[in-house]
């Protein structure tokens, strides 16, 4: 269920915490496992992570449902996480989200037909001086304009 490579990655996190506190690594473990399973989690994967870290599965499930970065439904290959909080909103985030929705044909919370992108509205991403902004993968894209969004979308594959 969890690949050897993922296990190794998880182990490097486990090594950071005192002996017996391996469940401190559950947040990363869930992310690692989510990443190698098309970006979302299932009950089986949560169970596998709990077993690997020797923790009660309900506790892993609590974590998986508490934090926003975990997905429990299929998502696009690229998840566009658009900040709609105050600083971004003051700088036109709402209009840009509508623009993005029209452009991609994907409503927030949905996945494009080809599975390439999904759009999610998120809370402040801590880059408010670059508002409006969104995140795709590890990358932040700031000071967005319709033109910039077009370019970014063109670059996605």
């Amino acid at each position: 269920m969890i690949s050897e490579q993922a296990k190794q990655q998880i182990d490097t996190w486990v090594a950071k915490y005192p002996a017996g506190y391996q469940s401190s690594a559950v947040m990363e473990a869930l992310k690692i496992v989510q990443a190698e399973n098309d970006g979302s989690l299932t009950s089986e994967l949560i169970q596998a992570v709990a077993d690997y870290l020797e923790m009660p599965v309900i506790s892993a499930h609590e974590v998986a449902t508490f934090y926003e970065n975990y997905n429990h439904k299929p998502v696009g290959k690229h998840v566009i996480r658009f900040c709609h909080n105050i600083s971004c909103m003051l700088n036109g985030a709402d209009d840009l989200i509508s623009y993005l929705e029209t452009k991609t044909g994907v409503k927030t919370g949905e996945v494009s037909e080809d599975g390439l992108v999904s759009v999610k509205k998120v809370e402040c991403l801590g880059a408010c001086v670059g508002a409006p902004m969104f995140q795709i993968g590890d990358q932040y894209y700031e000071n967005l304009t319709p033109q910039k969004i077009d370019e970014i979308l063109d670059g996605l594959q």
């Binding site: 401190s24 909080n85 105050i86 809370e123 880059a127 508002a131």
Partner: protein, 424 residues
Amino acid sequence: MNEVCFKNIDKENPSSLATYEATGGYSVWRKILHGELSPEAILGELKTSGLRGRGGAGFPTGLKWSFMPRNQDGQKYVVCNSDEGEPGTCKDRDILRFNPHSVIEGMAIAGYVMGATVGYNYIRGEFMEPYYRFEEALKEAYDAGLLGGDIGDSEVNFDLHTHLGAGAYICGEETALLESLEGKKGQPRFKPPFPANVGLYGMPTTINNTESFASVPDILARGGQWFADLGVPNSGGCKLFSVTGHVTKPANFEIPMGTPFSELLKMAGGLREGRTLKAVIPGGSSTPVLPADDAMKMTMDYDSIEQVGSMLGAGSVIVMDDTTCMVAALTRLAHFYYDESCGQCTPCREGTGWMYRVLKRIMDGQGKIQDLDLLMSVQDKIMGNTICALGDAAAMPVESFIRHFRHEFEYYIKHGKSMVENDG
């Protein structure tokens, strides 16, 4: 400007060890490793400096460190709060990106002072670029023999690790952060006991904000008095302010405490052409909003902002010009707290949703005039009744927006649309 945390920001390769050391970085840490600085001396300087926690609550850092039972046996921990998530706040991200070594040195010093040999930097999960930069810096520091066990035969031990969040604003609250570090949901703990007694894994722990730690090396290198003198009484030093919203050059500015708001506004390029100032949230979304007149009276320090009716918080200045619909702005903030409540305590779990729904209904044109009193009463019932300060943080914007801009809310309810022709 930019004298402490941001002093290298314009240099080439600002985050590298070489750049950091070129401007005196790790000199304090090396003194410690050579046995030339005592914990007591450090605490003394910190107290003199007037440094107050930069995470929002403004608690004096020197005093906080002195609460740790430093001579007690057993593991103790130092934790850095880089979970920056308060809307309007984005300073710690830049410290991690451009001056990570100052955080490492600050945490190491803290570990030494409090007898903690292990530190964790809790970085919010979305901050991947800052995380990679910080990890690089960490590797540099280990490679240079600045961290680890018995560092350079000094008998000083300090190991530092990063922990990544996974998307929950509440984990910025220090006890929620500890729960999260332990691999649990980020639900704040009730206090007492305080982390200095029962913290991470049940052991004594001190948590400070990224900027607080990053300020420590320079304070000790140049003296507490030097730092204090940068600022004004009761607000020592300089501080980072994130100026965002309706300004032409939004950015982070490290300026002396006590700088007039009007100057800060100028640094950020002022308002857009033809616009007038309507309101300012001076310290991040959780602090009360100020109408323009009050805001223009304040200087950027704890006491002055309090005098005009708000708080310095994390120094996140959200500027709103006359195009802003205050109903829409508050609804957005209310949604944020509703979305981010951890849900464990009754007033916050039930009250944040209630306030958001009423506001949403007003936005949808279904508002009733009694809704404003209702909102005031709900926020009042949350205020002071919750486990952590998120409850208060959710209540304060509602209270201050309605108190200062009631006419806009009334207009919206009567006409089913905003008073502001929003063309921005």
